[in-house]
Symmetry: C2
Subunit: 417 residues, 2 copies
Amino acid sequence: MSILIRNVQLNEKPTDIFIDGMLIRQIGQGLQVNADEIIDGYKKAVFPGFVNAHAHAAMTLFRGLAEDLPLERWLKEKIWPAEARHTDETIYWGTKLACLEMIETGTTCFNDMYFRPKMAYQAISEMGLRAMITDTIFDFFEPERAEKAKRMTEENLKLSQVFDSTIRYSVAPHAIYSVSAELFKWSADFAKANGLIMHTHLAESRQEYENSIKDFGLSPVKYLHKLGVLSPNLSLAHMLWIDDEDIQILADYDVKVVHNPQSNLKIASGYEFKYEEMKQKGITVCLGMDGCASSNNLDMTEGMKLASLLQKAWRFDPTKLPEKEALDMATVNGAKTFEINAGLVKEGYLADLILIDLNQTSFTPNHNTIANLVYAANGSTVDTLICNGKILMKNRFVNGRQTIIDNAIEAAKIIKG
Amino acid sequence: MSILIRNVQLNEKPTDIFIDGMLIRQIGQGLQVNADEIIDGYKKAVFPGFVNAHAHAAMTLFRGLAEDLPLERWLKEKIWPAEARHTDETIYWGTKLACLEMIETGTTCFNDMYFRPKMAYQAISEMGLRAMITDTIFDFFEPERAEKAKRMTEENLKLSQVFDSTIRYSVAPHAIYSVSAELFKWSADFAKANGLIMHTHLAESRQEYENSIKDFGLSPVKYLHKLGVLSPNLSLAHMLWIDDEDIQILADYDVKVVHNPQSNLKIASGYEFKYEEMKQKGITVCLGMDGCASSNNLDMTEGMKLASLLQKAWRFDPTKLPEKEALDMATVNGAKTFEINAGLVKEGYLADLILIDLNQTSFTPNHNTIANLVYAANGSTVDTLICNGKILMKNRFVNGRQTIIDNAIEAAKIIKG
């Protein structure tokens, strides 16, 4: 399958883009090539597809289920009981719905940290997105549960041998308050031995930070450092409660960081995300949307804007996190984190692309396309999405959309109980 | 002109709504009435149209023109030179573009604080929105300029006698650092004598607060109190740098407050907006989108989400500013501020309504329609907009849309210079 995008805006200039197989093969004006499909790029701008670096996809079924509650009641009365009601079917339709929403808002790749990877795999591969999937590991400091988690992870990795190349299995211990030191170390060893990405929640809340000091005598980052699990293939979600020493440690090990601004604000975890300090140390910072129970949508354009606005606000400096850095956070930094040759519109890169409809009020006028994408637009301006060289949405049409919405509504009834 | 909306969701239940002339006449299931136009409300929810309580409409032409600069350079190098390039034509097309964007994102009424009200009036009346318009007053403490501003305001009020009933002239001294005490007092007297709304920027930045202490020996609020200009018809935009005494004074005079979260974050004015304290004192707080030079879009759904998330975040309390209060801020509180019988879907109220398309991912599932509107949706989910009993958008079609976009692009070239 080959695609020729004609006359599309790239870096404010018109060009053609030729895609063959899963790669961007040629970029230039007036390309003389034959293609199976021609896309008219007039009044459209091309960008890399977004990489949602921290997601719990099937939690889209939780959208609006539990609002404005204190964290403990929210978890104990609403989220955990609802999660206990998950079935294969709810994971499947919840993940399909998440994929639909991500496609409609420009995300081509996501890092899913949830359960029942077989169902997640089925849903994601049908939708055509690129993803990391996992079966999140907990042991709550009980050795028996740790052993079960290990066997499950080994088993899952075997099953994942048959996955499409676009979907990778990853290792995801849940958090330092739910996973023992021993299981954390095993996870890191297992990830290293098998060349897998590792992902966890870290330093999300003040409570977590204080408990870490109390229980381990160390900050969350220093605790993981002591366990010896830090490495370039590890990405850490949230990371609000860290100090300069922590940042230096992360930089030393080339650990990746995922910022989740919506979720952090909504459940009041914190807002003083230390992007500037991390950037200065060369740390790769990417962007995640977390689950819809705490961020409510998966629109990465909203995430970019919020990330940028928050940096400017809490530092009282409007020059912080300018639009180009917000875009990098949402694209190429995510690709780097997950070792994917994407995140740039460049020859030889994976054809994970979006076309933005410039004939929208949020791009009128268009003094600065990136600024308009980051600060003015929402995901509904994404007109066309290509992932791995395949068109998943064209002129906002996604195949099977209504079936997904209808079945997700039914699945959500099971979740609600 | 009469409209019957059939089978639409209101407060999570299906109903019919009958509109005749400019009012909502009847609400109930299975209404037996004849109407000139029938709208199918299936899979749609009805909400009051949003009231954007602080806008500089024609600044939509500045979208993306000046990003990520320190405040002083932003104003002196970019915004002021660009504003000096405004012509009748740029005001007209900029305001048309703003109206188009507001219609497409669910706003039925706005408070415009800008210049050349004749052109703004023409643009807004053609578009059919409800608005307050003005010719913003400055004197920079020069008596001659004050006299000119007074004569201009008197003249404008005379011209406004021929306005449609949906558009009112208002009095808007710019700010305490650009308007003398004498002109501020004259403005308040003039507003009172003529039954007009009065609007100003106040307590926006730390700098403004510190200068107020230095120049007047009082906080911005106490300074206006000393001038004797506080009253229920006064609304104050931004209001970040205030203390408990200020809040008590505002409550005593029933002064209205407009929160502008995007703009406040983007130009780093502040984020600790004291909604909770104002609410406890019974102050009416509404929501504004400011100009597109500092907020970049006019989508009130984004404003609601950001207002709510910010309260939760800076207070470290996820129960703050729940979704219903965010919705009230964006609707009925704005209507109250501008003395308009709107902001509620209720018999006898003005037919300023929006229909939301529930067949969107952001409303799937729909455990809580208001939560989905505030936390998950963006303005593109607005399907139909009715203002003053007239349909301005139906199934996302707005008459004359392309002409506005094309002309706004040309007008923006004049602004860019």
